[in-house]
């Protein structure tokens, strides 16, 4: 039995509406949201985005970027300091009773009483849920059936993640929040979870997931946003996000060949003999570079050319964090530049 069978099941039953009619509906709407903790640290500094029904939206970011702080607000665990959030048309915190039966939540770190068995935990959750999947079925979906009688405290980290996922699926959610669903899973477990998430998405479930695995976002997400210091720095489809960031060429010049000899049109940046070129036209730039190297008889050491990729885009953003950490505006109490009228979800140009 594969995930495809699961999809077919849903299709045969005709239980999910036509994709066209559905994509127009906004299921998650986040507008100008900020979240400060008691100690004054602002973890989310004005975030806006929306997710349509049936869409899989990924929030990417380095540790501490504000992903979990954002998702917790969507899950209705806390109120934002300012801004509005609607999930399925309701405030997930104030109108909890209207939202919860239709959502499923997997926290980044979920807690379960350690002395209950897996099955007892799933049963408890199932009995607390409207129109729930039977506990056994939820466990089967995540491949935990054989561990049903094991106490939670004896589970491995990966198994705990899968139990958490089983509970998130118990409500047959329309909207599923997954906070780093595959952290701690081995390669096989990760692939299984991906298959399951894809299957859920295919069946019409709206999924919002956070991850710091680029591969995960790239292979699963319809759209993604990269968070950085509490703000969304870049958002769009994978193609859109990568297109905004140039490709790069790196190499080391042999001693005696100054970087200044490289043709100006290549706009090379040099650190001693190490050279980096950023370009939006990789093939042309490479052609020019190699032509110059051949004519000048220069050997380019450790030549490495990379086309624009999500990883490159992400690393450029992560690098800026390292450089500006000391003056992270969130660490000095209330932000000064917050009221300057700039839209929070504005795509910023990030220079590495």
């Amino acid at each position: 039995m594969t995930s495809d069978d699961f999809l077919n099941d849903r299709r045969d039953g005709g239980t999910f509406p036509l994709a066209k009619a559905v994509t127009a509906e906004t299921v998650i709407a986040v507008d100008g949201v900020r979240r400060s903790y008691k100690d004054g640290f602002e973890a989310v500094s004005g975030v806006s985005f929306s997710v349509a029904r049936g869409e899989l939206f990924a929030l990417l970011g380095t540790n501490g970027a504000g992903k979990t702080s954002t998702v917790e607000l969507l899950e209705g665990l806390a109120l934002p300091t300012s801004g509005t959030i609607k999930v399925l048309g309701h405030d997930p915190y104030r109108e909890r009773a209207a939202v919860r039966p239709r959502t499923g939540v997997m926290l980044q770190e979920g807690g379960f009483p350690s002395d209950l068995t897996v099955l007892e935990t799933a049963r408890m959750w199932s009995a607390c849920t409207t129109g729930a999947r039977p506990a056994g079925e939820a466990l089967e979906m995540v491949g935990l059936t054989s561990r049903a009688k094991v106490r939670v405290k004896q589970l491995s980290g990966g198994e705990k993640r899968r139990l958490d996922l089983a509970l998130a699926l118990t409500s047959r959610p329309e909207v599923l929040f997954l906070d780093e669903p595959t952290t701690g899973l081995d390669a096989e477990g990760r692939r299984d979870t991906w298959d399951l998430i894809r299957a859920l998405r295919e069946s019409g479930t709206t999924v919002l997931l956070t991850t710091h695995y680029l591969e995960e976002a790239e292979s699963l997400a319809d759209r993604l946003a990269i968070m950085h210091q509490g703000q969304i720095v870049t958002a769009g489809t994978t193609a859109e996000v990568t297109a905004a960031h140039p490709a790069r060429i790196r190499f080391t010049l042999p001693g005696g060949v100054p970087a200044a000899h490289i043709p100006l049109s290549l706009q090379a940046g040099a650190d001693g003999q190490r050279v980096e070129i950023r370009t939006s036209t990789l093939q042309e730039s490479l052609h020019e570079l190699l032509g110059w190297a051949r004519e000048s008889g220069v050997e380019l050491l450790g030549l490495d050319a990379r086309s624009a990729s999500l990883e490159e885009a992400f690393l450029q953003i992560a690098n800026t964090q390292l450089r500006s950490r000391a003056d992270d505006p969130r660490r000095v109490g209330p932000r000064h530049g917050s009221a300057d009228g700039s839209t929070p979800n504005e795509t910023k140009k990030v220079t590495a």
Binding site: A78, P113, S114, T129, S171, L196
Partner: protein
């Protein structure tokens, strides 16, 4: 990872949003029942907690007896056995319900169990109540044991005013659970709960009539002590069990007990922390 064939549930999203969730009480009871079952399983598996909860009050009753023998009870109308056993119920309320539960709420919070439960349909109130159930169940069991022990071993009668006795117990359970939840808000770790529970522990033991009947104190002091959280509950329990009720004292007791309960509930709603970070 296999996916079962029985996944399709025949419900579409729009359909579901039209049909209202099963309303109010029945759904709430169903959830409480599910949580209570899980709590019961956990309680049965935690043998050491049961042992401590059952043995400690017995030890305490003997120390109450020892301290009572130093005091002239002639003016109080209480026998040593009567004072010790009703004091035992006070001990149960403070130790088994209050102190146990502070640890319970803090543990569940720090292990993120409370946070996880809050992501589902269970309401905050249901989470707090279900967490309190095992401790309250133990306390009920011990109260019954004390009454039975009083009848068999100490020649005490069954409670003379069972209505007052039960009212005292009920208010005591609710107040102690709520005060425990409120105390957990100022308790960072399980270890510090041994510290944060001490004020109420000592105040109740020595000034709420558990160790020493209030009649022993000077009138003015006793009048102040009557306003302490557990004093009203102790008055109800003691008079409910042993008799000798006076109308005025009783009203003061009920009002004080209910006022503290209301304050505790308010404090929980206002300050309870669900998340270690929150």
């Amino acid at each position: 990872m296999t996916t079962p064939t029985t996944l399709a549930d025949g419900r579409t999203a729009p359909e579901r949003s039209l049909s209202p969730a099963p309303s109010g009480w029945s759904a709430s009871l169903r959830r409480l029942n599910a949580l209570a079952r899980a709590e019961l399983i956990l309680l049965i598996r935690n043998r050491s907690a049961i042992f401590v909860a059952l043995v400690l009050p017995i030890v305490m009753i003997f120390s109450i007896r020892a301290s009572l023998e130093q005091i002239d009870l002639a003016g109080t109308g209480l026998s040593v056995a009567g004072a010790a056993l009703t004091g035992g119920i006070g001990i149960v309320l403070v130790q088994v319900v209050y102190m146990n539960l502070v640890t319970g709420y803090v543990t569940r919070r720090e292990e993120l169990v409370l946070k996880r439960l809050r992501t589902g349909e269970v309401t905050d109130r249901e989470i707090l109540i279900s967490t309190a159930l095992p401790s309250v169940a133990l306390a009920v069991l011990q109260s019954v044991l004390l009454v039975v022990a009083g009848a068999i071993a100490f020649d005490l009668s069954a409670p003379k005013r069972p209505d007052l006795f039960l009212l005292g117990l009920l208010v005591g359970f609710v107040m102690m659970s709520a005060l425990a939840a409120a105390t957990s808000a100022v308790t960072r770790t399980v270890q510090t709960s041994q510290l944060t529970t001490l004020p109420l522990f000592f105040v109740s033991l020595f000034a709420s009539g558990i160790f020493v009947p209030l009649d022993v104190f000077p009138d003015k002091l006793a009048a102040v002590f009557e306003l302490l959280p557990l004093t009203g509950v102790m008055t109800l329990v003691r008079h409910g069990w042993l008799g000798g009720v006076e109308g005025g004292d009783l009203v003061t007791a009920v009002v004080a007990a209910l006022a503290w309960t209301a304050f505790a509930v308010f404090a929980v709603r206002r300050w309870f922390r669900w998340d270690p970070r929150g």
